[in-house]
C-alpha cells in the first residue's frame, strides 16, 4: 500500500485524521473521510478507471459531480453489488470495494479495445446497417457478441438484502441545491418562519463554494458557509437533507427525491433503509442546482488525464488532490484561468495555458505570474497517450503546432445551467446569445430559479437571487417575509467566454458523448444522412441516451449539427429533459412494496383457523383464500379436492366465504335502486328472503352477480363476488351520486364486519342446529330455501343466516361479527364432527358450482351477456335498468353468439382444459373455424370424469353434438360432447335436503 502521491500536503475539506482504507480492482488504497471515490483514486494516482461502452477505450475521471460519463464503477460485492456508480459522487467509506466494469480480461489489458480498430463498422446507426442480414444471424451471433462487447456493468443477480422506504413531506418552500444561491434562499425563507426543505445531492453542503476560493462579505467563503449552515440548523422549521437528489418535478408542486440514507456505509445500520424515496409537496420551490461544465471536442479528448477545469478546482480545493504533475489548461473563457491560478497556488506546475481568445495584455501578465506559457488564440488539437495522457498537441494563433508533455489537461468551455427540472413539464429552455447557453424560459407553476441554474453565474448574483427568491417564495406561500438584508459583497469575478465546440484537424477520435462513445464524425454522418432534427440525431447516434442523459454532451452535439447544417444552435433545437435527473434505484421508488409486501393482502377473520387446518392458500383478488385442505398422506391436490367435494355431496362441508363483498343498503328508495342496478326485479322480494341478482354494465355485458337479501322494508344486504367487491361499490356510488342523487339511499360496505361460512351438504341443517341458538326454528318449513334472517349463536351473539346454495346441496351461509369468525368455524367443526364435516376450499367450491352449471369469474369475464350465459330470463322487460338498452343490440342477440353449455369428453378418461377452443370435427385448427372456448373445467368425483363449461356458437341448440376441444399450448386435442351445463341433480331436489 503506497502513500497518496497526488495528495497535497495541506488544505481541503477532508479529515486527515480519519484515514479510510478501500480497494479498487482488488488493490488496497487509502483516502480520507470527506473524499469521494474519485478524489481518493486521483490522490493515489489511479487515473484509468474504466473502459468505454463501445470501443473499450481507456477512460478516467472527467468531472467531480453527477454529470460524470466515464468513471462508472461497480461497488461492493455479492448481493449488494451495484453497477454504474459514478465514482465522482460515491462517498468514500472504510472497506469500500470498487471495481472497474466493461473490460475483459482486465482493465489495463482489454482485448475488446480492438473494437477501436474495427470502428468503421461501429459508427452511428451500426445496429441498423451492419446487422440487418441475414435475420437469423441476429439472435445467434450478432446480439450475443454485441452484448459481450458493449456493456454497463453487471447487476447483482441476487435479491437485494437491503430495504427501502417511501416518505412524504410538505413544506412552504423547497430549495433544491445547497450552494450559495440555495443557502441564501433557505436562509431568507427560514428566517421568516417558513417551513423549508433544503436538499442537496452532495454529502457536504456548500455547492461550488466547496470547490472555489472565494470571499463573501470580506471573509473567506468557508466562514460564511459555516455561519449560514449553523443558522439554518438552528431554525426549527428548516429541514436540511444532504445526500438527497431532487430528481423530478411533477404536477401541482410535487417533487420526487431520493435520499441515500446508507449508501455511504458498507451496509445499512440495523433498522435503517438503504435509500428513501421522497415525494415532497411544496407550495413554492427554488431551483438552485448550479451549473454543469462543458468539455471541448478534440482528438483524444477522452484520455484519462483530460478533465473539466472546474473539476480540477474541486479536487485541488475541496479534496486536497492535485490530479497531475504537469498541467496544461485549454480554456475558452475567464473561468478556466481560476483553475490555473488554483493549481499554481497549490504548488502545482502549469506548463501552458491555451486560450482560444485573442491575445490580451492582462491575461499575458497573469500567465507570466503563474509561470505558464500562453497560447492566445490557440487550441489543443489532440491529446495523446496510451492508457493515460502523456502529451498535447497545441496549435497556436499562427497555425504552428507545438507538442507539450503533460499528464493533466484541464478543459474549460463555460457552463450549462442545471435547468433540468424546469423542463420536466415540457418547458423549453431558451438560448441566451450572451451567455452561450440555454437558460430556463417558461417556468412550471410554483418554481423559481436562482443563481447559476438561471444563467446568473457570479457568486454575487447567486447570493442576491437566493435572498430575493427566498423572500418572494415566503410571501407567495402566504407568510410575512422579513425585510431584506443588505446584499453581501464578494471578491470580483469576470466570466468572459467565447465557446469552442470542437477543434478539427487532430488525428484520432474526438468524443461528443463519452458514455455512449459518440464522436463528432457520428454527428457529421447523421447530418449527411438526413438525421438532422435533434430528436433524430439523438436516436440515430444515441447521443445523450446513456445513463448520464447527455449532461456533458448534448450541447456540443447540437453545436456540431448546427455547424454542419449552417444553422444556429437555437435553430437546430433545444435540449429538454425528463425525470429522473440522475438514475434512481427501483427500490427507492417501490419502497416497502416488494416481495410479499408488493401489495396489501387481505386475510379473512377465519384465516388462522384455515391455517391450522392445513389449508393451501391461493390469491383471489387481494385476498388469500383457502384453496384446499390436504390431509396427511394426500400428495395430489386432486385427491384432496375429490374428497372435499364428496364430503359436501354425501354429508356436510364447511367453507369460508367471508371474502364476498357485503354492502348495506338502506333508505326509502333502496328497492327502487336495486331495480335500476340489477337486471332482475326486486320490489316484490319479501322481507326475510334472499334473491340471486345479476348486474350489467351500461354497455350490456355482465358485470357481477350475487345474492341480495331483504333484511327490512327499507334495508337490503347485497353480496358481490370476492374479486369485484371494490368495483361494485364504486359503481353503486356512481349510480347513486351521479345518476340518481334524488334517491333516498344510504350505502356502506360491511364486508369487514362479518365473518361468513357456507355449510353445505345433506347434513348442513343438523350441523347448524348445533351452533344456532335453539329458539330459532331451522326446519324446512320455518326456514325455507332462500330464507335470510337474523338469528343468534352462542347464547345471544347476533348472527345472520341465509339459506342459499352454490353447490346445489342443502346449504346455508352463516355470518357472525368478525371477532367471532374463528369461534364460528371451530363451533361448526364441533357440531358437524359426528357427520365427518369437512373443510373445503375454492377448488372444491369451483367443482361443486361447475357440476351445477353456475357461472363464476371465468364466465363473468366482461365479454359475456346475460343471454350468453343462459340468464336471459333475468333481464326484466318491465323496468329500466343499467345495461338494458345496450344488451338489446342486434349483434348481442345474434343466435350465433357463443352461449353457455356443458361439455364432457367423448372418451370418459380424457382430461379437459380450460382455455381450449372448439373446432368442428374434421376442420383444421385455424381462427376461421373457431367456435368458442372452454371457460371452466373440473373433475367431477360424482360422475367420475372431467366436465366443463364453455361458450360455443349456437349454444344449447347443439346439445348432443361433438366437437374438438383444441388446446395447442398444452398439446390438448380432445373430442367433447356438448351437454346441459347442469351435471348434477338437474331437478334441484337436493337443495331441499
Amino acid at each position: 500500500m503506497s502513500a497518496q502521491p497526488f495528495r497535497l500536503a495541506s488544505g481541503g475539506l477532508i479529515d486527515r485524521g480519519h484515514q479510510l482504507e478501500f480497494s479498487f480492482d482488488g488493490t488496497s488504497y487509502r483516502g480520507y473521510a470527506g473524499d469521494t471515490l474519485a478524489s481518493a483514486l486521483l490522490a493515489n494516482g489511479v487515473r484509468l478507471v474504466g473502459r468505454s461502452f463501445k470501443y473499450h477505450r481507456p477512460r478516467g475521471i472527467l468531472s467531480a459531480g453527477p454529470e460524470e460519463p466515464n468513471a462508472l464503477v461497480e461497488l461492493r460485492s455479492g448481493a449488494r453489488r451495484e453497477p454504474n456508480s459514478r465514482a465522482t459522487v460515491v462517498e468514500l467509506f472504510a472497506g469500500l470495494a470498487a471495481s472497474s466494469q466493461n473490460r475483459w480480461p482486465s482493465l489495463a489489458f482489454d482485448l475488446l479495445s480492438l473494437n477501436g480498430l474495427v470502428s468503421p463498422a461501429l459508427v452511428a446507426g451500426f445496429y441498423y446497417k451492419t446487422f440487418m442480414w441475414p435475420a437469423s444471424f441476429w439472435e445467434k451471433l450478432y446480439e450475443p457478441l454485441i452484448r459481450r462487447a458493449a456493456g454497463l456493468g453487471r447487476a447483482a443477480g441476487a435479491e437485494d438484502p437491503d430495504h427501502y422506504e417511501k416518505a412524504f413531506a410538505f413544506c412552504d418552500v423547497l430549495v433544491i441545491g445547497a450552494g450559495p444561491a440555495g443557502l441564501s434562499a433557505a436562509l431568507a425563507a427560514g428566517r421568516s418562519g417558513a417551513r423549508v426543505i433544503l436538499c442537496d445531492e452532495d454529502f457536504r453542503l456548500g455547492g461550488r463554494l466547496l470547490a472555489e476560493r472565494r470571499e463573501i462579505g470580506g471573509r473567506p467563503g468557508s466562514e460564511w458557509l459555516a455561519a449560514t449552515l449553523a443558522e439554518l440548523a438552528s431554525l426549527p422549521e428548516v429541514r436540511i437533507m444532504p445526500r438527497t437528489t431532487v430528481f423530478g418535478l411533477y404536477d401541482h408542486g410535487v417533487y420526487g427525491a431520493v435520499e441515500r440514507v446508507a449508501d455511504h456505509l458498507p451496509e445499512p445500520p440495523a433498522h435503517q433503509p438503504r435509500q428513501r424515496g421522497w415525494r415532497i409537496h411544496a407550495r413554492r420551490a427554488i431551483l438552485a442546482a448550479g451549473a454543469l461544465e462543458r468539455p471541448i471536442v478534440f482528438a483524444g479528448n477522452d484520455l484519462p488525464g483530460v478533465m473539466l477545469a472546474g473539476a480540477v478546482r474541486s479536487y485541488v480545493n475541496r479534496h486536497g488532490v492535485l490530479p497531475g504533475r504537469e498541467s496544461v489548461l485549454f480554456t475558452a473563457g475567464d473561468d478556466g484561468w481560476r483553475t490555473a491560478r488554483d493549481i499554481a497556488a497549490a504548488g502545482g506546475r502549469v506548463a501552458a495555458i491555451v486560450d482560444s481568445r485573442p491575445d490580451d495584455p492582462a491575461r499575458k501578465a497573469l500567465a507570466d505570474k503563474i509561470g505558464a506559457r500562453l497560447f492566445a488564440g490557440g487550441a489543443v488539437l489532440r491529446a495523446r497517450g496510451g492508457r493515460q495522457l502523456r502529451a498535447v498537441t497545441i496549435r497556436d494563433a499562427s497555425g504552428a503546432v507545438t507538442e507539450l508533455a503533460c499528464d493533466l489537461l484541464a478543459v474549460s468551455n463555460g457552463w450549462n445551467p442545471t435547468l433540468h427540472l424546469t423542463s420536466h413539464q415540457n418547458g423549453k429552455p431558451a438560448w441566451n446569445e450572451e451567455l452561450h447557453c440555454f437558460v430556463p424560459a417558461a417556468l412550471p407553476a410554483g418554481l423559481a430559479v436562482a443563481g447559476s441554474a438561471a444563467g446568473r453565474f457570479t457568486l454575487a448574483q447567486a447570493l442576491e437571487d437566493g435572498a430575493r427568491l427566498g423572500r418572494e417564495a415566503t410571501a407567495e406561500a402566504g407568510l410575512a417575509a422579513k425585510p431584506a438584508e443588505p446584499t453581501l459583497t464578494t471578491d470580483p469575478e469576470t466570466n468572459g467566454l467565447s465557446p469552442v465546440w470542437r477543434v478539427s484537424g487532430g488525428k484520432g477520435k474526438a468524443f461528443v458523448d463519452y458514455q455512449n462513445d459518440v464522436t463528432d464524425k457520428d454527428v457529421e454522418l447523421a447530418a449527411r444522412e438526413g438525421f438532422r432534427p435533434v430528436e433524430h440525431l439523438k436516436r440515430y447516434t444515441t447521443l445523450g441516451m446513456a445513463t448520464d442523459q447527455g449532461k456533458t454532451s448534448n450541447l456540443a452535439g447540437l453545436a456540431i449539427m448546427a455547424e454542419q447544417t449552417g444553422r444556429t444552435i437555437p435553430q437546430t433545437g433545444t435540449t429538454t429533459f425528463r425525470p429522473p435527473y440522475t438514475p434512481v434505484a427501483i427500490g427507492a421508488l417501490a419502497g416497502h412494496h416488494r416481495g410479499k409486501d408488493f401489495r396489501p393482502v387481505r386475510l379473512a377473520p377465519t384465516h388462522e383457523w384455515s391455517k391450522e387446518q392445513g389449508a393451501v392458500f391461493v390469491e383471489a383478488g387481494p385476498w388469500l383464500r383457502a384453496q384446499y385442505y390436504p390431509k396427511p398422506g394426500e400428495t395430489d391436490w386432486l385427491t384432496t379436492v375429490n374428497r372435499e367435494v364428496r364430503a359436501v355431496r354425501s354429508s356436510v362441508g364447511l367453507c369460508d366465504v367471508s371474502t364476498l363483498g357485503k354492502i348495506d343498503i338502506q333508505g326509502a328508495d333502496a328497492a327502487e335502486f336495486l331495480e335500476r342496478v340489477y337486471s332482475n326485479g326486486w320490489k316484490a322480494l319479501p322481507v326475510g328472503k334472499a334473491r340471486y341478482g345479476l348486474m350489467l354494465r351500461e354497455d350490456g355485458f355482465v358485470m357481477d352477480d350475487g345474492t341480495t337479501s331483504r333484511l327490512g322494508e327499507q334495508h337490503f344486504l347485497m353480496t358481490t363476488t370476492t374479486a369485484n367487491a371494490g368495483k361494485v361499490m364504486q359503481h353503486l356510488e356512481f349510480c347513486h351520486q351521479v345518476l340518481w342523487p334524488e334517491l333516498d339511499l344510504r350505502m356502506v360496505s360491511v364486508s369487514e364486519q362479518w365473518a361468513q361460512a357456507a355449510i353445505a351438504g345433506p347434513k348442513a341443517r343438523e350441523t347448524l342446529r348445533g351452533v344456532v341458538d335453539p329458539e330459532h326454528d331451522l326446519s324446512d318449513a320455518a326456514f325455507p330455501y332462500l330464507a335470510a334472517r337474523a338469528v343468534t349463536v352462542g347464547g345471544g351473539i347476533p348472527a345472520r343466516l341465509f339459506r342459499i346454495s352454490f353447490s346445489g346441496e342443502l346449504a346455508y351461509e352463516l355470518a357472525v361479527p368478525a371477532d367471532h369468525g374463528d369461534a364460528m368455524m371451530r363451533g361448526l367443526m364441533q357440531a358437524g364432527a359426528a357427520f365427518g364435516i369437512t373443510p373445503y376450499g375454492t377448488e372444491a367450491l369451483g367443482v361443486l358450482r361447475i357440476e351445477k352449471g353456475h357461472v363464476a369469474g371465468n364466465e363473468l369475464n366482461g365479454q359475456t351477456t346475460a343471454r350468453d350465459l343462459g340468464l336471459g330470463r333475468m333481464m326484466s322487460s318491465k323496468k329500466d335498468f343499467i345495461g338494458r338498452l345496450m344488451a338489446g343490440r342486434a349483434a348481442l342477440l345474434d343466435q350465433d353468439r357463443p352461449a353457455l353449455v356443458g361439455f364432457k369428453p367423448a372418451e370418459p378418461g380424457q382430461r379437459l382444459r380450460a382455455g381450449a377452443h372448439f373446432i368442428g370435427i374434421g376442420r383444421s385448427a385455424e381462427m376461421a373455424n373457431d367456435e368458442g372456448y372452454m371457460t371452466s373445467v373440473a373433475y367431477s368425483p360424482h360422475l367420475n370424469h372431467w366436465i366443463g363449461l364453455g361458450l360455443i356458437r349456437g349454444g344449447a341448440a347443439r346439445i348432443g353434438e361433438r366437437v374438438r376441444a383444441y388446446d395447442p399450448v398444452r398439446n390438448g386435442d380432445v373430442v367433447v360432447e356438448i351437454c346441459s351445463p347442469v351435471f348434477v341433480d338437474p331437478e334441484g331436489a337436493r337443495l331441499h335436503g
Binding site: H163, F170, H271, H592, D597, V748, V771, G794, G795, D822
Partner: protein, 209 residues
C-alpha cells in the same frame, strides 16, 4: 331428520380481536429507545351512521341529546365522555363507544334517525404516540401532519401503504403527539408489516389497550 347434534352450549365462543395473528404486545426495532408507543385498541363499539336526505339535523340532535356530542360537519373527531363521533364522509359518521355495554340498544335508538351499520369488528384500531410518531406516519401518510396543518381533533380518510385508513389527532400526551388509526380488519397484517418496518429505526413498544 331429527335435530340431534352437539349442544350449542358446548361450543366455546372465544372472540378473536382484529390484531390477532398480526401482532401482540412487546417491543421491536432499535434497542434501548422507544420513539413510538403503539397501543392496540379493542373492546370498543363502532358503527356507521348515515343521515338520510335532509336528515342530518335530526340525527345530530338525537346524538347530542343522547350522548352529549355534536356530529362534526367537517373531517374532525368530536369526543364525549363515553362516545366519539368521527366524520367519515358527507352526512356520514363513525360512532365509537368506549365499551359495548348498551351498544346495541343505542344503535337501535339511532336507527330511527339514520342508517346504522354495525362495524365494531370491522376495523383494527391503533393509538400511536411518542416523540417520533410524525416521522413514522410520514413514511405512509400522504397528508401534511405538521401541528399547524393537522390540528388536534382533525381527522382524515386516506391510505397508508395502499391500505385504506381513517386517522385523527388527539391532544398531545406526555410522550408527545397522539394519533389514532383505524385499518380495515382484513388488512391489519399488511398494515402491520408496513408499520413495523417503518417504526423499527425509532424503537417501538407495543401494548394492548
Amino acid at each position: 331428520m331429527a335435530e340431534t347434534a352437539t349442544s350449542p352450549t358446548a361450543i366455546a365462543w372465544v372472540p378473536r380481536g382484529a390484531w390477532s395473528g398480526s401482532t401482540r404486545a412487546g417491543s421491536f426495532g432499535a434497542e434501548g429507545v422507544s420513539g413510538i408507543i403503539a397501543t392496540l385498541l379493542g373492546g370498543f363499539g363502532l358503527a356507521t351512521l348515515i343521515a338520510g336526505t335532509g336528515g342530518a339535523s335530526s340525527l345530530s340532535q338525537a346524538v347530542e341529546r343522547r350522548l352529549g356530542i355534536v356530529l362534526p360537519a367537517t373531517p374532525r373527531i368530536v369526543r364525549g365522555q363515553t362516545h366519539d363521533a368521527i366524520w367519515s364522509g358527507p352526512e356520514q359518521w363513525l360512532l365509537r363507544a368506549a365499551s359495548r355495554d348498551g351498544w346495541s340498544a343505542l344503535l337501535g335508538e339511532l336507527a330511527a334517525h339514520a342508517a346504522v351499520s354495525e362495524q365494531s369488528d370491522a376495523r383494527a384500531a391503533l393509538r400511536l404516540s411518542g416523540s417520533q410518531v410524525r416521522k413514522v406516519l410520514a413514511k405512509g401518510v400522504m397528508l401534511d401532519l405538521h401541528p399547524a396543518a393537522f390540528a388536534v381533533g382533525d381527522a382524515a380518510l386516506t391510505s397508508i401503504a395502499h391500505v385504506g385508513v381513517q386517522l385523527w389527532r388527539l391532544p398531545d400526551g406526555p410522550d408527545g403527539p397522539v394519533f389514532e388509526i383505524l385499518v380495515a380488519r382484513s388488512m391489519a397484517g399488511s398494515f402491520w408489516s408496513w408499520f413495523s418496518a417503518s417504526a423499527a429505526e425509532f424503537g417501538c413498544t407495543v401494548t394492548a389497550g
